[in-house]
């Protein structure tokens, strides 16, 4: 079933036969099995798959934050065996530092990287404005709604214009409108900065709308079930979602999903 799509020109990420097993008290959990995936430089790849199939785990392996059990991951020319700091990550849980205001939470990225602070502050303000949080720069995480916290963590990941962006359901807590807006903003930023994006989502239409390729993962142990090339023109426009081609893609993905047997019969 593994239909590998045409390999992109300049590979940025190369995942070869990677497996991951979590050792548990009551036996091991086999989270990822034999993953093969190559992502080109500047490519936007989305990952969809049922809950618990190993998407977040794969993202953590890519970032070098968790070690893999078998196989090989290369990012750029580098073999990943320790944390890779040349990335921006949006974690599934917004990991905000509760002792810092929204603005300071974004700025930590610059502080740690020893980037010039004044310019960073400028950019952080712009990013917060982009996600409509200009009025909450000084609010502490406790004083923010779930969606607001998530938006702060997105700004943090974007601050330093990383060459590789890893996003774990970044828009999950946002309403449809804000989400549409941020999707467009994200695409613009990617185009401007030639970022490679590894994007986990639960929304098939979001995946289709944003991506060059969509990876469908099968449930435990997570495998790459199928990779779909999305052949839609760029820049993407919201109106494209009404296109037949677009709906064809979403339908195809939905069918693959259903084929995974995740879905029980209707009761």
């Amino acid at each position: 079933m593994n239909v590998e799509a045409a390999a992109p020109v300049k590979p940025h990420i190369r995942i070869s036969r990677v497996s991951k097993t979590f050792k548990g008290r009551k036996g091991d959990v086999h989270a990822l099995s034999d993953i093969d995936l190559t992502i080109g430089r500047g490519e936007f790849v989305s990952v969809v798959g049922p809950s618990g199939c190993g998407k977040s785990t794969l993202l953590m392996l890519l970032s070098g934050l968790t070690p893999y059990s078998l196989g090989k991951i290369e990012v750029g020319e580098k073999l990943i065996s320790s944390p890779n700091s040349d990335v921006g990550i949006v974690f599934q849980q917004d990991v905000l530092l509760e002792w810092r205001s929204a603005l300071q939470n974004v700025l930590i990225q610059a502080e740690i990287r020893k980037a010039p602070l004044e310019a960073a502050r400028e950019r952080a303000r712009e990013l917060l404005k982009m996600v409509s949080l200009q009025d909450f720069e000084n609010a502490y995480p406790k004083e923010l709604s779930g969606g607001m916290r998530q938006r702060v963590s997105i700004c943090r990941a974007l601050l330093h214009k990383p060459p590789l962006l890893l996003m774990d359901e970044p828009f999950g807590a946002l309403d449809a409108m804000t989400r549409d807006q941020l999707q467009l903003d994200l695409l613009r930023l990617c185009a401007d900065n030639a970022m490679t994006v590894f994007f986990i989502t639960h929304s098939i239409s979001e995946a289709v709308f944003l991506s060059d390729r969509v990876v469908v993962m099968s449930p435990r142990p997570g495998r790459v079930e199928r990779i779909i090339d999305i052949d839609l023109p760029r820049p993407r426009r919201l109106a494209m979602r009404e296109d037949l081609k677009f709906t064809a893609y979403t339908r195809e993905l939905t069918e693959i999903f259903k084929g995974l047997g995740v879905f029980r019969e209707e009761v």
Binding site: P83, S85, L97, E98, I108, E111, I112, Y140, K142
Partner: protein, 272 residues
């Protein structure tokens, strides 16, 4: 049934300090009550002064002996402050070492524990032999007594950082120093402050005990001398000044905590 209260907004530092000072009052009244009870107990039972002097008698002694009490208090306070400072300077780095290095944890930790269980009074001759008879052995005793809670609580605090937060730090390429300074330390502050509070009282005790063993000034010395000449009221006067120093010290650390860890002072859910 539980009731709900509004989360108090963090106030301006100055307003805060004032509020904290205001907060002391219930304790003050308990204290007053205790003192009155003590006075009555002594008066009614005709307790002789060499057993337990009445507060009035102690107060008279404090007033009488005020100038010399203050001079000696100055000595004790400076021992406490220097010793406490050194305890922090020793304790926090040690905690960092233990947190970051498994080997250090296994090799050093038990020895620190052992060092704590040694009665300082018993090894006084050693300390005197090594550090002479001046200020140094007192500082050493203060440090030995007070650095332990700083270490223990700092270790627990520094280890309390969530895995996610450390992942975040690593993804930014944070150096160990940055991880410590920007992620682990702020997270650990509530624990560290609990340790500092414990350390304050131990520092006070340490200074006094050190003065018991060999000193020619300080409040501990006053207690010993007053005791040997059976001046119990003066002993109590000195003890009360010591307690006051300890309390002021403790309150200062608490004020500092509110300034340094303001984000903790929100969201209060009181259950009845």
């Amino acid at each position: 049934m539980a009731t709900i209260t509004e989360a108090a907004p963090p106030a301006h530092p100055l307003r805060l300090s004032l509020r904290v000072l205001g907060n002391i009052s219930p304790a003050f009244w308990t204290l007053v009550l205790l003192v009155v009870l003590w006075e009555l107990a002594v008066q009614i039972n005709q307790v002789p002064v060499y057993i337990l002097p009445a507060p009035s008698r102690v107060a008279a002694e404090i007033i009488d002996y005020w100038p010399r009490l203050m001079i000696n208090a100055g000595v004790t306070v400076s021992e406490i402050l220097i010793g406490f400072g050194c305890a922090i300077a020793v304790g926090v780095p040690l905690a960092v070492l233990v947190t970051y290095s498994r080997v250090a944890e296994r090799a050093i930790y038990p020895l620190i524990v052992a060092s704590q269980t040694i009665p300082k009074v018993a090894i006084a001759p050693l300390l005197m032999a090594w550090f002479g008879y001046g200020l140094t052995p007192k500082i050493v005793i203060v440090v030995l007594l007070s650095f332990f809670p700083i270490v223990i609580n700092s270790v627990v605090g520094l280890k309390a950082s969530s895995a996610e937060m450390l992942y975040l730090a690593q993804s930014m390429g944070a150096t160990p120093w940055q991880t410590f300074w920007k992620f682990r330390l702020p997270q650990a502050l509530p624990y560290i402050f609990a340790g500092l509070k414990l350390a304050t009282v131990l520092a006070v005790i340490g200074a006094v005990v050190a003065e018991f063993i060999g000193a020619d000034r300080g409040l501990g010395y006053v207690i010993v001398v007053a005791g040997s000449s059976f001046n119990i009221a003066r002993q109590f006067a000195a003890i009360i000044v010591i307690s006051a120093i300890g309390m002021v010290f403790f309150v200062i650390i608490e004020l500092l905590e509110r300034l340094v860890v303001p984000w903790k002072n929100t969201a209060v859910v009181a259950s009845e």
